[in-house]
């Protein structure tokens, strides 16, 4: 009988349950995907130059486990706010506490475990989709990646089962231990906390100071190393906490004091809702802001590595294609290229010397990259005279020659002298194209043909002179990083946004009366919805903004790894905000549905 009652209760709140269930499904799905990577040591090691990557992923697992745990607690409290009045009613009707506890236990556990199973299946599906998408879209090279991993699935199942067992136990205990009357009257707001203005001001100042120290430390990572990292971590966490515990309340208070803002439409109500909420939300908002920074940072740095591929490639190779014995390549061989320059330096050689025509270099100087002071490279041109007089200059030319040529001396002779020399004329052909990305396949093919035609070229050594092959090398090197950054970022984002969503939604029940009252005294529906959008908007926006600020300062730390961590920032930010915004809309939609049910 009770089970039947319980099932009808679920049916009545199907929409809320669907949200809860899908939230849990996504959580376990993401957990599976992450574990799929973390337990795949072969994949991690083959895709990263950093030895500690396996350790980093274990750290990630710990972090993700903590977030998942918090997330499930919030999701659970949302479940409980939906159900506790029903349970209290069953108890009033005479159901025994033990029986109710059993019911809650079963309900929580069944919902949790079935969500985990569906989630794991979803995770397997998503893994293969993500794999294909990333591989295609970003031309990422990943090896040893498998979508189906039994150890990850097992780990996910065990982890979630344990958490749900715990949650079910906690739920059952709290409901049974609470007096029935408290349950029936659940959702009434506590008294406003009275904070002394002086303490508030002190917290505001120390909050700003902590953030300032943290941001400064992150820019000093190069010089102060670990000390800077640890100081930054501590002060930023503290600063973030104070922002929500005092700065935000301080600002809301200032706004409330301004009559022109507060006494307009529902502003006073919205502001008061927020300042009451934020006291209660300090911890979750701080956590969201920190995770937001981590997730956005991971995606930004991940994509930063993607940008690095082309930059590093450009920095190493001046020419897009090097053809030794270029005379053997016909025009039709090069048909597929959008050539922007095609220089052929003629060579003649004897026993111990390679001869070049000096005039040809005067006409089109030989270009090469040199390092400048700040780890950047620039292109310089060498004419015939420079090459003839400067050994380091002609050494640059040597790197493009065949091994048997580069072992010989160089002579840059005049046009007539070159013509008079005996022997066969060969060509060193150096080509640049208009669009490297577009022509990359054709360039790779020609580079490989060059190896075939010149069997003495060592692919390992000579590969570095072919831009298309250099690109492949860097691509393989950085793709692992990129993939992991992306993956970590998306996983964290989904979890943190879900946490925030459920935290906000579990407060919705207590707002029903407020909104219905405002409606009775003549507040238009549009105004009420606007108030909801503003309130939830701020709860999403502030941790987001703080997270963005953390990232902007935090990128300082990556100056050692990436040549320009701030380039193309808009892309990761855009991806991130679109996803975050979807969560915001979803929260507003469900929240409105709960507090203004009469219309729905």
């Amino acid at each position: 009988m009770l089970l039947k009652l319980s099932l009808t209760g679920i049916k009545g709140r199907l929409r809320d349950y669907i949200v809860l269930f899908s939230g849990l499904v996504v959580a376990s799905g993401i957990f599976y995907m992450f574990e799929g990577l973390a337990t795949n040591t072969a994949f991690l090691e083959s895709n990263s130059m950093v030895k500690s990557i396996v350790f980093i992923f274990h750290l990630g697992t710990v972090l993700l486990s903590i977030i998942t745990f918090v997330y499930i607690l919030y999701a659970n409290s949302f479940l409980m706010t939906m159900r506790q009045k029903d349970y209290a009613m069953f108890m009033m009707l005479g159901a025994k506490g033990r029986k109710i506890a059993q019911l809650i236990f079963i309900e929580t556990f069944v919902v949790g475990v079935s969500a985990t199973i569906v989630g794991t299946l979803l995770g397997i599906g998503l893994s293969s989709i993500v794999q294909q998408l990333l591989v295609k879209q970003l031309a990422i090279k990943i090896t040893h990646f498998t979508a189906v991993s039994s150890s990850a699935a097992l780990f996910t199942l065990i982890f979630f089962t344990v958490i749900f067992l715990l949650a079910a136990f906690v739920n059952a205990m709290t409901i049974v231990k609470k007096p029935i009357l408290t349950l029936l009257r659940a959702g009434e707001t506590p008294m406003p906390a009275n904070r002394k203005p002086f303490t508030l001001l002190l917290e505001v100042i120390s909050g700003i100071a902590f953030l300032a120290i943290g941001y400064f430390m992150m820019s000093q990572v190069m010089t102060l190393a670990f000390f800077a990292l640890i100081t930054a971590l501590i002060t930023i966490v503290l600063g973030t906490y104070f922002v929500f515990h005092s700065i935000l309340i301080f600002v809301l208070d200032l706004l409330k004091r301004r009559d022109s803002i507060a006494l307009k439409k529902l502003n006073n109500f919205t502001l008061s809702q927020l300042s009451f909420r934020i006291q209660d939300y300090t911890r979750i908002l701080s956590m969201v802001a920190m995770l937001f920074a981590l997730a956005l940072g991971a995606i930004t740095v991940g994509l930063g590595f993607h940008n690095e591929i082309m930059k590093m490639t450009d920095a190493t190779s001046t020419y897009d294609l090097v053809l030794n014995n270029g005379q053997e390549f016909t025009a039709s061989d090069l048909k597929g290229l959008s050539t922007s320059s095609d220089v052929a330096y003629q060579q003649k050689e004897d026993q111990d010397t390679v001869y070049y025509d000096r005039e040809q270099f005067n006409q089109t100087p030989f270009k090469t990259k040199v390092f400048t002071s700040n780890r950047q490279t620039k292109t310089v041109g060498f004419d015939g005279e420079k090459l003839a007089s400067d050994v380091t200059a002609s050494d640059q030319l040597r790197t493009l020659e065949l091994p048997e040529q580069s072992a010989k001396k160089h002579q840059f002779v005049s046009n007539q002298e070159f013509a008079a020399l005996p022997g066969k004329t060969t060509e060193l052909r150096l080509i640049t194209v208009k669009d490297f990305e577009k022509d990359r396949d054709a360039l790779t093919k020609l580079a490989n043909e060059n190896f075939q035609k010149n069997p003495t070229l060592d692919k390992d050594m000579g590969g570095m002179s072919q831009k298309a092959l250099v690109y492949e090398l860097y691509n393989a090197l950085f793709s692992g990083f990129e993939f992991m950054g992306f993956f970590l970022g998306i996983a964290f984002l989904t979890m943190l946004a879900s946490c925030l969503m459920f935290k906000i939604l579990s407060g919705a029940k207590s707002d029903i009366q407020r909104y219905s009252m405002l409606e009775k005294i003549g507040a238009r529906q549009k105004l009420l919805k606007q108030s909801i959008r503003k309130e939830i908007g701020i709860l999403f926006l502030v941790p987001g903004l703080l997270g963005v600020t953390h990232v902007l300062f935090g990128l300082q730390m990556f100056k050692t790894l990436l040549s320009d961590p701030y380039s193309n920032l808009w892309l990761p930010f855009l991806i991130f905000f679109v996803l975050y915004f979807v969560y915001y809309l979803l929260t507003v939609w469900i929240y409105t549905g709960i507090v203004m049910k009469r219309e729905g």
Binding site: M191, P192, I521, A523, Q525
Partner: protein
């Protein structure tokens, strides 16, 4: 006298389509004149809450018309209804319905903010109405920090601040102790007599009802009887109400 509320042959039926239909109001007509203090009494299930919801424009009648201040409220919808409520009707509920995260002053100011009244004017009117209801000492307190009687006065101040056509009371003394209840009723009587505030009180408490000038008794969805206080003392009127209630239950 000017009629401010006209209820004309109002019926309300619950249950749609194939569901079993329940007739809560079976054709009710009455009028309220400007400056009147009218009570509506009836047992639970008599239809008095339904009537109140219709008068409050929170629900619409199945048949018939309701006019408040010459506006046919059955023809209004959406935003018009919301604006109408904020302009013409003041509410006092049994459970106060104050926003507990706003101070008393802020609670009182909400209807004026909704109407877009200037801040300066809001402050003036809040302190005026607070003085009138003797709550100027608690304006900066939150609802949780004040007594039930004070809460209801704050609610009354919020209802009166827009100078509505009619004040609707839904068991306003229901959650108050007898002293606070008497205070509130005295205040309402004074508002009615001195400031000509029209009041419609829905109650099942004979003591509260004895403050009214006229009482409509509702039974099974129709008006069963109407009694007037006229020149009786309140005690005499109270006894008359009790005897009508006695008959009503038989």
């Amino acid at each position: 006298m000017e009629k401010i509320v006209t209820v004309d042959a109002v019926k309300k039926t619950y249950g749609k389509g194939n569901q079993k239909k329940t007739e809560a109001l079976k054709g009710i007509s009455f009028e309220v004149e400007k400056g009147e203090f009218v009570g509506i009494m009836g047992a639970s299930g008599s239809g008095k809450s339904t009537l109140l919801n219709l008068l409050a424009t929170l629900d619409k009648p199945t048949e018939g018309q309701i006019s408040i201040n010459q506006d046919d409220v059955t023809k209004l919808s959406g935003n018009q209804l919301a604006d109408f409520r904020s302009r013409e009707i003041g509410f006092i509920f049994q459970d106060f319905n104050l926003l507990e995260n706003l101070t008393a002053a802020e609670n009182i100011a909400v209807p004026l903010s909704l109407q877009g009244v200037k801040a300066k004017e809001i402050h003036r009117r809040v302190s005026e109405v607070a003085q009138r209801l003797s709550i100027d000492g608690i304006l900066n307190s939150y609802p949780a920090q004040i007594s039930g009687g004070q809460k209801q006065r704050v609610a009354a101040a919020r209802a009166l601040i827009t100078q509505p056509t009619i004040l609707l009371g839904d068991e306003p003394t229901g959650a108050l102790d007898s002293n606070s209840a008497r205070d509130l009723l005295d205040t309402m009587e004074e508002l009615n007599q001195k400031d000509q505030v029209s009041i419609l009180l829905v109650t099942h408490d004979p003591f509260s009802a004895s403050y009214c000038q006229r009482i409509l008794f509702i039974k099974d969805g129709v008006i069963y009887q109407e009694v007037k206080r006229e020149n009786q003392t309140r005690e005499a009127f109270y006894r008359q109400i009790l005897s009508v209630l006695g008959n009503l239950e038989q």
